[in-house]
Symmetry: C2
Subunit: 403 residues, 2 copies
């Protein structure tokens, strides 16, 4: 008997759990748990379990645990950054080391969850649009259970991430365009190809997997919330997942006190969330998208209203940083022994900016999320020929040649 | 009051703990714990601790825990490979995912430990010879506590690993030669430069850090030993560390039954351990070293007798595999969602060979160690100018120019 169902974040209507991401009203469907049916002793029971994200399985929408697809994701360190605290005069400061996940990024969590849900339903063909890490994560988890994966990334996706997708055996395509153009190709091909579209917010599993990051940091802080979380924001499903985690922990009574303030960081040159949070039009015309090719570059987040409302509800913020600031942060963090992806480093650049603007008080407990590591983003020319396509029509041409 | 001291693995003489690696008789000094002074309840106490290698701190030679240098190492997944078991008709099969460590390799453990010991003694300058991963690990852990690191790697070291060293701020030198030639430069410069030589078996901390891999797999298997461990062998300190772990667990009474059979795998073209295990001369003349540039390529392991005697004592084995077999294994494992370094993949190639030779019985529990991930080994041309040197004299020249 399931203790979970879907609820629309926009109109509030509930429906039985299914692999749907969008309500008939257009709002994002999220997973809701019947917390009264969750054992009071679960918080203690968890303690003895292996330290992966599936220690929280009763809080994840899985019905058949024998169908879980795992590569050992989650359970990443929450590293105290004492030397940085001293140097910069900041309150307790932590880095959540998401690069220490299978596939080297936090995307492992969303895909362990989503691929598990697909595996429970015997779906064998999956596709995703991505800026890179989601593609390599889908590729790995699909390979982990014998599913056929198709991944579509912008052609300037970091080459080492493309290499990863190829290593994991995904059908890999570079797209002349941005992540949403890749998404259009996946959507267009779904019917004919029979693949399940696992793009951002197309189904509920990925957000649920990301929720485990929030559950973990609370557990690692002794079932307490930090004051502030700074999270690199592209599509924003990480913000949604963290928020769901914190709400759930409150509802379960496992953590007391106010939710953390959620702060999004984006890169200048593609900052729709920052614009909308500031009350401005979020539209980023393609000609104005000048941000670098990382997970942050999402010109059209699928549900920007939801992401912005979460930032507002948590008394959070949204800030953008320049590529120079990001690159400087990668180097600075490296000199402290921390390998940060541009997205992860952006949280450090954001912290410095927020400190300068006095939006952060000394003594506040802050968690920065390091979503991946620096190595993947070293400039790299892919060694195998990988087709560059513009449309679903192009995909069909190449796919038939390569099959 | 310390519960640990040094014992010589060759002559058996005991001495107080110090940062020495070699006995006056020439044998390797190992760390011995007074197990009678270790609390009987420790095994249970450990369970509630954070899942990093320092959960075993009472079993590590640290006196001042406030001086521990950690980036969140250890606590890596032990992943059951059920699909591979079914496909190849093998007994319970696990992969210990050491690539999910800070710096992306198991070397993080040895250096968290060794750098901690140096930090306790206020040593601020360190140097290492390495085939790559040890260098980037030293670089990161030194950066993590503000030590000055000098790393020396063969000039054909994978470029992405060199980039890592640079990111972490290590003084990085490429050597015209093999790992032992780099070691000669470090040794020659120790007095004049005042750096502490953290090369293989030069001090006891690195082996102790590696010991935690053995402690973990026993814990993850429910305080049981696997039947077989297959471990990629360069210098062999991983074999030594695992052996120390298993002996300690027996002595503590935490695990019953025979030690696992330890099996080393090396690459054809540099297999001194395989030769010596087979009763042949271990000498690999430089002109005969044709193995690829990975952690396996150690033509002159510092204490080959000790490594071979451990393999013999555990009724283990030593096997070599070709580069082609390794490359095929990287690809095969990738198709199952696992990113394996050449060294890690070699354990898979070894398993297939041992199965063919019927050295492995169906039903035996086997643990393969994946020491790093595939991404680091993609062919890469380092972007910054990094000096190539042949001697300590060359080092002095470049160092003065760059300071």
């Amino acid at each position: 008997m399931n203790t979970f169902a879907l609820v629309c974040s926009r109109c509030g209507v509930r429906q039985p759990f299914a692999l749907k991401g969008v309500c008939s009203c257009g709002g994002t469907l999220l997973v809701e748990f019947d917390t009264e049916r969750i054992s009071l002793s679960l918080r203690d029971e968890i303690q003895g379990r292996p330290w992966t994200m599936w220690r929280y399985k009763e809080l994840l929408p899985v019905s058949n645990i024998s169908r879980i697809v795992t590569l050992g994701e989650g359970g990443t360190p929450l590293l105290r950054l004492e030397r940085l605290e001293k140097r910069f005069g900041l309150g307790p400061l932590y880095s959540k080391r998401e690069e220490l996940n299978p596939t080297g990024s936090f995307k492992a969590r969303g895909f362990s969850s989503a691929v598990t849900l697909l595996n429970e339903r015997d779906i064998r063909k999956v596709a995703v649009n991505s800026n890179g890490n989601a593609a390599s994560a889908l590729a790995a988890y699909a390979a982990g259970c014998g599913m056929d994966a198709y991944v579509f990334v912008p052609k300037d996706c970091p080459g080492l991430i493309v290499e990863e997708c190829l290593l994991y055996g995904a059908h890999t395509y570079l797209v002349n365009g941005f992540i949403q153009d890749a998404g259009a190709i996946v959507a267009e091909g779904a019917s004919e190809q029979g693949w399940f579209h696992v793009g951002t917010l197309k189904e509920p599993g990925r957000v649920e997997g990301k929720k485990t990051m929030g559950l973990e940091i609370a557990e690692q802080l002794g079932w307490k919330f930090p004051d502030i979380v700074i999270y690199p924001t592209g599509g924003g499903s990480g913000i949604i997942g963290l928020w769901r985690a914190f709400l759930l922990l409150k509802e379960l009574g496992w953590v007391q006190g106010p939710l953390p303030r959620l702060i999004s960081v984006q890169e200048q040159g593609c900052e729709p969330v920052v614009h909308r949070f500031g009350g401005r039009d979020a539209q980023v015309g393609e000609e104005h998208v000048t941000a670098s090719a990382t997970g942050l570059r999402v010109p059209k987040p699928p549900d920007i209203e939801l992401v912005v409302s979460i930032l507002q509800q948590t008394n959070g913020h949204a800030v953008s940083v320049s590529l120079s600031e990001i690159e400087a942060a990668v180097q600075s963090l490296g000199r402290y022994g921390l390998s940060a992806s541009p997205e992860g480093a952006a949280t450090w650049a954001a912290l410095l900016k927020l400190k300068d603007e006095q939006r952060i008080t000394a003594g506040e407990t802050i968690v920065l999320f390091n979503t991946s590591h620096a190595g993947k983003y070293m400039p790299w020319k892919v060694t195998q020929q990988t087709p560059v396509i513009t449309s679903y029509h192009d995909f069909r041409y190449w796919h038939s040649r390569r099959s």
